[in-house]
Subunit: 167 residues, 2 copies
Amino acid sequence: MKISMYAMSHDVFKKSLTQLLHVMDKGVANAKARNFDTSVLVASRLAPDMLPFSKQIQLTSDFAKNSLARLAGIEPPKFEDSETTMDELVARVKKTLEFIATLPASSFEGSETRDIKIPLRDRTLEMKGLEYLQHWVIPNFYFHFVTAYNLLRHNGVDVGKRDFLGG
Amino acid sequence: MKISMYAMSHDVFKKSLTQLLHVMDKGVANAKARNFDTSVLVASRLAPDMLPFSKQIQLTSDFAKNSLARLAGIEPPKFEDSETTMDELVARVKKTLEFIATLPASSFEGSETRDIKIPLRDRTLEMKGLEYLQHWVIPNFYFHFVTAYNLLRHNGVDVGKRDFLGG
């Protein structure tokens, strides 16, 4: 066993994206049981000026695929943010899992010192791979995943921390 | 620069706990500006059967102090969960930061293969240090930190992702 950039990024997000699918499945089942359309969940927000569930899922996906691609030294694939239904959002998460599975662990070697460029709307951030993972990728990924979870929880979906964490 | 258990745990949580203090400060300032008592925030929940803000802060603190202590090979200090006000919760986070600063980086060496025991209410989990950090400590820490943030956001506190992430 050894600690590596791959173990601390790919392995962590693979597990959490799998749990995200599980949590979304519970949202779908709960909507069916309570007889409302999942579009209510997809559009839900915790505050009027906060991004809705759909965008939280797209951003969770983006932080996984973009950061793993950059750490692996390749250009992140562009996923169109065209999902409007829960089914499409589930497919987006599955596509993210499929993409990250294509990145060989060996391509992460030395990524702790790689120069990473993060294009934002108004500027480009630059940092080394380790700092990027510690203070950008991990907090951002969980920011959106936990917010998506909290949106379901707030709307009465029967999810608990064990669903979030997995076995 | 190198990747280490210390860098991926202590350094990550130190930064995030510092941002948690900043986010809590904004909650206090917002309550003052809108003329309500911070006890409203302290007791707030996203669902009736979900832990309140106060407990989210105590658990964020616990996941930082307990996990860093265990990875460093020492018994985690017991903090009484006696905080009932925002001031006391802020002090709890500061005390957590003070504690984790006492752990020498050298005590984390080899912690990726250390046997970690996690006492839960109904059972004891056992895993190696690396798996503990990847799939238990990091997701749990952010689960409670992001939920605390979301509680403030839901209650109209003017926090955004930059407050959560820091500079």
